[in-house]
Structures are given as C-alpha cells and as structure tokens.
C-alpha cells in the first residue's frame, strides 16, 4: 500500500505522531518537576553574622517545581495528593495543586557568640533540606 502510506503521511496528524522525538516527549518527566535546588548564602546576607561566626557559608537548599500526576511512586506521597490533583484538574481549579515541599532535613553545626561574649558550638536540627515531596 505505498500509495495509501504516502497519502496518509500527508495527513498532519499522522506526520506528527510519526515524529518520534515529539512522541516520546509525552513520557518524559516535566523539565521543571519538583526537586531540590541549591541556594548558597553567607550569614551576613541573613544579617546574623554579628553572632554566627561559623560556618562561613550555608546552603539551606529548597524544593521547587511542578508535582506530576503520578506522585505516589516518585515522592512517596499519600493517595490524598493524587485526589487533590484530580480535584484541581477536574472539579474545582480554586483548590490548589499539590505543593513541592521538603520531606527531610539534616542538622547544621553553628559557632555562635552569646550576648555576654561567651562562645557556643551548637548543632541545630532541620537546617538543610535533603529531600522533596509533593503534598
């Protein structure tokens, strides 16, 4: 059926679907999917450098990106997240989409100067995001 095949190729729909790169794009994860991003700063930018002596630089990291529809297997999200996504897409778009937020943190060691001039080494909990999730 060369004639049929060639006539079909002229059909814009068929041509597009045969454009494999286009075809596979629908299976790729969205480029800006929910994931961890770095943000290196110094405590002088937070205006804390008059009492925090160390570390000199700090990367709290943060979560940013869209939450895909199939969140369960990638982000360990509860079923509620998928339900909320369906509500947003099908029922009521005033309900927000699931948000991309930190799921785990790690501590930070800090060297601080107390008001009386004494020096304290402390390890603070939950200062660096280490994993993101959709909720």
């Amino acid at each position: 059926g060369q004639e049929t095949a060639s006539s079909k190729l002229k059909d814009p729909l068929v041509a597009a679907s045969f454009n494999l790169s286009e075809y596979f794009k629908q299976f790729l994860f969205p480029q800006n999917e929910c994931e961890l991003h770095d943000f290196r700063l110094s405590f002088s930018q937070l205006k804390w450098d008059n009492w925090i002596v160390a570390p000199s630089r700090y990367n709290p990291r943060y979560c940013k990106g869209d939450c895909p529809r199939a969140v369960g297997h990638r982000y360990g999200s509860p079923v509620h997240t998928m339900v909320q996504n369906i509500i947003y897409e099908k029922l009521d778009s005033s309900v927000p989409r699931p948000s991309c937020i930190p799921a785990k943190y790690s501590p930070l060691s800090v060297l601080a100067i107390e008001p009386d001039g004494s020096i304290a080494y402390k390890v603070y909990e939950d200062m660096i995001a280490t994993k993101c999730t959709c909720r």
């Binding site: 160390a54 990367n59 009386d116 001039g117 004494s118 402390k122």
Partner: protein, 294 residues
Amino acid sequence: SQASNGEAQIAAGAELEPEAEPWSLLQSQDGRDRSGLLPSPFNVPSDEQGGTRRLQPDSRALRYMKRLYKAYATKEGIPKSDRHHLYNTIRLLTPCAQHRQTLGNQMTGILPSLDLLFNLDSVPALEHLLKSVFLYTFNNSVSFPSAVKCMCNMMIMEPKSSSKTVPRAPYSFTFNSKFEFRKKHKWIEIDVTTLLQPLVASKKQSIHMSVNFTCEKDQLQHPSAKDGPFNMPLLVPPSLLLYLNDTSAQVYHRWYSLHYKRRPSQSPDQKTGLATHPMGEEAAECGRASRHRR
C-alpha cells in the same frame, strides 16, 4: 547547722571522696526559673533590637573554638559523622572577673593564685552538663626542654550570700595532675566535671573559685632537674569549657535520630510489641516478613 558542719569538714581540704555528694547540702540560692532565658536560636537576639552591643569574645578563646569547630563539622557546617557523642552544645566561658590573690614565684614554679568568677547566665535551663574542662594557655608559646609536674588546687567560694543565709565555708578540691609540656604547647585541659557538676546542675548563676598552680620539674624524667633555674611562664587565666546536652526541640539529638532512623518501620507501639516478643527482634522480623508474604 548539720549542713554547715558537713561543709566545714569538706572545707578542711580533705581529698574529695569519689562517692561524696558534698553539694547536695546546697539549695539553689536564686530559685529563679531560668527556662525563660532559653535563647530562641534564630530570632534576632533582643539585645540587638535594644541597640545594646554584644560583648566581644576573648581572641584566644575564639581561636580555640574555631579549631574545635573544624574538628566537629565540615566547612559547610555539616556535623562530622565520626564524632559520636551525646553533647550537642559546647560552651566556652571566660572569667567575667578575676584578680590575683598572691604573686607567686616564677623561679620556684609557684604561680600566682587567681580568684575567678564565671557567669553561668548564658547556660539555659534545658542544657544539661555532661563534662566540664578548665582550659589553660600560656601568655606566649613556650617550649619546655623537660617534663613538668604541676599540682593544681581549686577552691570553690560560695557566691556572695544575702544576709538571710548562713555564710558557708569554702569547699576546696585538690587536684593532682601532671602536665607534659612539649614544643609550642598551646593548651592544657583539666577535667573538673566532678567539681562543677553539682553547681551547674543546681542552676547557680555564677561560679566563684580560686585556683593556684605549683609546678616542679619532674625528677623522674630528668634526675639532673634539681639544679638550674626553672622559669615557669605565666598562665593566662583559664577559660571554662562546658559540654552540654541541650534538650530543647530545635537542637539536634544524635542518639534520638540514629535510633529512630535505624528502624523506619518502627513505631513506638510496635517497639513494645518487639519488647514483649519471646524470641526477640529476629523472630519478630521474620514473623513480620511472613505476614507480608501472606
């Protein structure tokens, strides 16, 4: 009267008996609840808002703490995992008041005795003392050709008591310790945990003590040590290093996170299940596995 008699015996300078609990006689003078003093770690401290300046730390103390920081954390501030310890806070206090009681004699190795006052206001109620160390350094980096043996005598003085309470006799604690001086000796650490534990635990506002050193060349190491002048350099007044476990929520509790991380499926009630399981953990594990299979 019972308490003061007990203290008088202790004050006679008797060696501290390990099991003695001399400080149980003390009541906390101030009875002030200090939990309100808890520094919320990252709110801008109130004194900055009030415009009052923060006191600058002692430069030697800051150098020591920066070196300690490098030993405990990476450049990005990540705690080093090879440091397994229970304390999550280390405080270095420099004496807020000090003066010399006696001049001492450097040639014979008797150093001037010091009267020191440490302010404990920066130690909040939720920080529990695990270890305390006296930190000595020299006013110039010295190198000793030989070993030096020192005797350190510490006397805890009662804080200025109000007229109501009976003034208590000071309590002395003789600390025999030998220091090995090497080239460029920087710091000497003297563990004073047993001495200060009761004071910090009873939430004292300050520690008032007198300290004197007597040093001599260690004859055992160098028989010829008897002769020749012995020029002992002056010690800079000591700092006090407190290793504490801060039990407030914002601070990292290594033992807690390791424990609960190790068994992610472990919820507290399941844990009790394990505890009651006759065969212990392994059987419970395989029991759970078979349940999963079913």
